[in-house]
């Protein structure tokens, strides 16, 4: 594989890369299997059993289980998240990979994990990466959720899951006494059904997922009614069929996936300060596979995604009028020679945008070549260096990753990750990029916004170091520090004025570019397992943004600077499992809502207080592993938790879920 290196770039950064590689190679190589075997402190793997025990009903509940993630939602269904301060929550820059295929379904910074065409019941395991990583040929700079769905077994399998949730604080009979009380109503039900047939040569699996969510919270109901038109009360509805085929042929394994998800959404659209009725369609087709053996293998992948923002019935016939076809072809070769593993590959991507008005340029071509070398001094330690070079419509970029783990003593391990990325402006996902290139939607809405003359190229450098000490098998401590240096960042700066007529906002937007600053962080955790049937994990994390630009700091203040979680898991008699999680979220400041805060005397408060949340879950398995029933109580103290100033309060909620999994039936 030949990769064309821009010589200027190499001259500028080649010395730094060489020093990093040298630094890594000089690290002491006294190896200890036990210490290094401890998983990276930034990587967490959750099995289907872990998810079931924690009472995960929707995929977005995952954000409740991951330490050091800042997540917020306006409607309680669509969550924006930031992993380990790698990006701002609003950017939603994390990567999602399903069965080795990166999912390309984000649009204009919105990436709703609940829109995926499968259910929690279909997950075999998932891995969360909270540092930059090279995964399946993708440089995932801002954190990753990697999902592995259940492989069909030989024979026939049937799966089904149904859940119902009810949030407290409904008016009940008092609605007839005080008609100003607003209904909150139920959540869901999330429903899922799947069947598969598997044999020696492969398998076929078909599934269907559906979900509902009601947008009836008092903080947003009037706003929603301003545009929404429908017979039913405002709700989000998801329908998502999926078909996957696996073939074991030609000396390898080959997968074909076809899915479509249709989410009738009420999208809180900041430039308008209202919920926009919209239908999000995501069509996906992928073919991927592996050929070869453990010494040398060849991986290929071809994907097609169509993302369509379609009209949903609304009072003013607003149509986002946006469709994008995304094609991607990826090929890579993995070679193992002794203690060295090499991965070299290339990816070609094309994004073709369609809208009714003329775009300055409607097609983006992206070419990316990369190589990664991984050294395994022993089977349980490694050091990895990877370099990416990309070209997006003639603009060059690069990414460098250095990561690894090293045992320092019998009970101590050191983990490190360094990365640097410099890319062309994020053209795939940014509303502001396309607004500049002729997308007229914001003009149609008569939104008040100012774009910069040109966008700067963002550059991000990250450093993560962690020390893991395990003095006893059932006791472990981890301390991690992180540094992020951002340059050339682009972000919208909103000002939300209260509009009494629609109980919403009049928004003015200025898109700032060239923002710079740094965010330093620290995380400490202790894991304690006093008995085989119970375990506890206490985690505290903090971060501190700093910059000479006050705007940069204000944007980062939207994330709580302090978070503490205590997670306990219990396995009780009669195969009952229990899960308890305490989560303390420190105060946040959303400066953009200060004008609305002042004119509503705190109703849309820009200063979010600290919250203490308690989640409880109990699960019982019946009939072997085939039937599970769980009860989950979220926010058991009914803290007045509103993660976003304009969003719904998430009251105490009881979920009941039943899952049937007949996965081992013979013909």
């Amino acid at each position: 594989m030949h990769v064309l290196l821009p010589t200027g770039l190499f001259r500028s950064y080649g010395k730094q890369i060489a020093l990093l590689v040298l630094g890594v190679s000089l690290l002491p190589t006294t190896l200890n299997a036990q210490a290094v075997q401890q998983a990276s402190p930034w990587t967490k793997t959750l099995t289907a059993d872990d998810l079931g025990q924690a009472g995960v009903n929707r995929l977005s509940d995952l954000f409740l289980l991951i330490d050091n993630v800042s997540a917020y939602s306006v409607d309680g269904y669509t969550w924006n998240a930031s992993f380990n301060t790698l990006s701002r929550s609003e950017d939603n820059a994390w990567t999602l990979i399903v069965d080795g295929v990166p999912q390309d379904f984000g649009t204009f910074g919105m990436q709703n994990i609940n829109q995926l065409p499968f259910h929690v019941a279909d997950i075999a395991s998932l891995t969360i990466h909270r540092v930059p990583a090279l995964l399946h040929g993708v440089f995932a700079q801002a954190g990753t959720i990697e999902i592995h769905t259940k492989n069909p077994v030989r024979g026939v399998a049937i799966q089904g899951s149904a859940a119902a949730g009810n949030e407290i604080n409904d008016p009940g009979p008092f609605r007839f006494v005080d008609t100003t009380q607003v209904n909150i109503d139920r959540l869901g039900p999330p429903l899922y059904a799947a069947t598969s047939v598997g044999g020696r040569i492969g398998s076929v699996k078909a599934s269907f997922a559906a979900d509902e969510h009601h947008a009836t919270d008092a903080m947003m109901l009037t706003r929603v009614w301003w545009l929404y038109r429908g017979i039913r009360r405002p709700q989000l509805r998801l329908h998502a069929p999926r078909l996957s085929i696996q073939l074991n042929a030609l000396g390898g394994t080959h997968h074909f996936v076809r899915s479509r998800s249709r989410l009738r959404d009420l999208w809180f659209f900041e430039p308008l300060g209202l919920e926009l009725p919209i239908t999000r369609m995501h069509d996906h087709f992928s073919a991927h596979g592996t050929l070869g053996d453990s010494a040398r293998s060849f991986v290929y992948r071809a994907t097609y995604d169509r993302v369509h923002l379609d009209e949903r019935l609304n009072r003013f016939d607003l149509d986002a009028d946006w469709l994008q076809d995304r094609y991607s072809v990826h090929a890579a070769q993995h070679t193992r020679v002794g203690r060295w593993t090499n991965e070299t590959g290339a990816t070609l991507r094309t994004r073709q945008s369609h809208t009714s008005t003329m775009l300055l340029y409607d097609t983006l071509f992206e070419t990316e070549g990369y190589t990664s070398w991984r050294w395994h001094p022993t089977p349980v330690s490694y050091h990895q260096v990877a370099g990416f070079f990309s070209l997006i419509n003639n603009t060059a970029g690069y990414k460098v990753l250095v990561t690894g783990a090293q045992a320092l003593s019998a009970s101590t391990g050191l983990h490190y990750t360094l990365s640097q990325e410099r890319e062309a402006f994020d053209a795939a996902n940014s509303l502001w990029f396309w607004a500049r290139n002729g997308y007229r939607f914001l003009h149609t809405l008569e939104a008040d916004f100012i774009l910069p003359l040109r966008y700067t190229e963002p550059q991000t450098t990250t450093v993560d170091l962690a020390l893991h000490v395990q003095p006893m098998p059932r006791l472990g401590f981890t301390v991690a520090v992180s540094g992020r240096w951002f340059r050339g960042q682009t972000a919208p700066l909103y000002t939300f004025q209260y509009d009494a007529q629609k109980d919403g906002f009049l928004t003015s937007t200025r898109v700032a570019t060239g923002l710079f600053g740094r965010v330093m962080g620290m995380e400490a955790s202790v894991r304690f397992q006093p008995a085989a049937w119970m375990s506890h994990r206490l985690t505290y994390r903090t971060h501190q943004p700093s910059s000479t630009e006050a705007i940069f700091v204000a944007l980062w203040d939207e994330q709580a600077r302090h978070q503490t979680t205590l997670t306990s898991r219990f396995s009780l008699p009669a195969r009952i499992q229990a899960f308890v999680r305490w989560h303390h979220i420190g105060p946040q400041t959303w400066a953009s809502y200060a004008p609305a805060d002042a004119s509503t005397t705190g109703r849309f408060g820009s200063e979010r207080p600290a919250y203490l949340l308690l989640d409880l879950a109990v699960r019982k398995k019946f009939w072997g592993p085939r039937l599970t029933a769980s009860l989950t109580l979220r926010n058991a103290f009914d803290a007045p938790y509103r993660p976003h100033p304009a969003g719904a309060a998430l009251h105490a909620t009881l979920f009941a879920q039943a899952t049937l999994d007949l996965t081992a039936l013979r013909w």
Binding site: N166, P171, G172, P173, F174, Q181, R233, P573, P625, A664
Partner: protein, 208 residues
Amino acid sequence: MKFRYLFVLLLLGSPLLTTARAQAPDSTATPPLPKRAFLAINLGALGTMASSPNISNTWDPGMSLAFSSSLLLERVFLEAGLSLHSYSSRSLGIPGELIIPDFSATHIFLGGGYVRPISADVSLHFGAQIGTFRMTFDEDTFAGVRTESELTFTPYVRARFAINRAISLFTGISYTRVYTADRFSLGFFTMGISYARAAPNWVVSFLR
């Protein structure tokens, strides 16, 4: 076309016609259920002793019935059941007055607790239930909506008097908190009859 039906039949019917494969041992296996397990069916009548002013000022509670099934595992029990309630409005229908309708409610609950034997024939049951209070109104609350469900929490205590090995009478008091936006509480006095027998093997094995 025939093949399609055959395929569907095969897909749906195969779980019934075939035996399941042996399952791998559960990694989270915990101690087995006690050998002595009893299954009881309880039928009772509930009278409202007290209710919050926000309810009692506007609605009159009627008689209530409760049905539950419980599994006794030595000193511990688990139960699931439902109770039916009715509330009639005190509204006189005077013109200009708010229309406040009657409503009925179904309380579906899961719970468990601890058994404290007092003598050979008398025992005290201390328990708690979590459930949902599903209210059905005679008028719409919101356009097209006549029902609402709300979370409940119910601690209770019961005394059980054995008549013979199978039948017993019980009486007790309970306190139900309903978590509507304006919370309300209901205090009940309960009397009823219970029939118990050794839990069938399939129930115990199903629970295992």
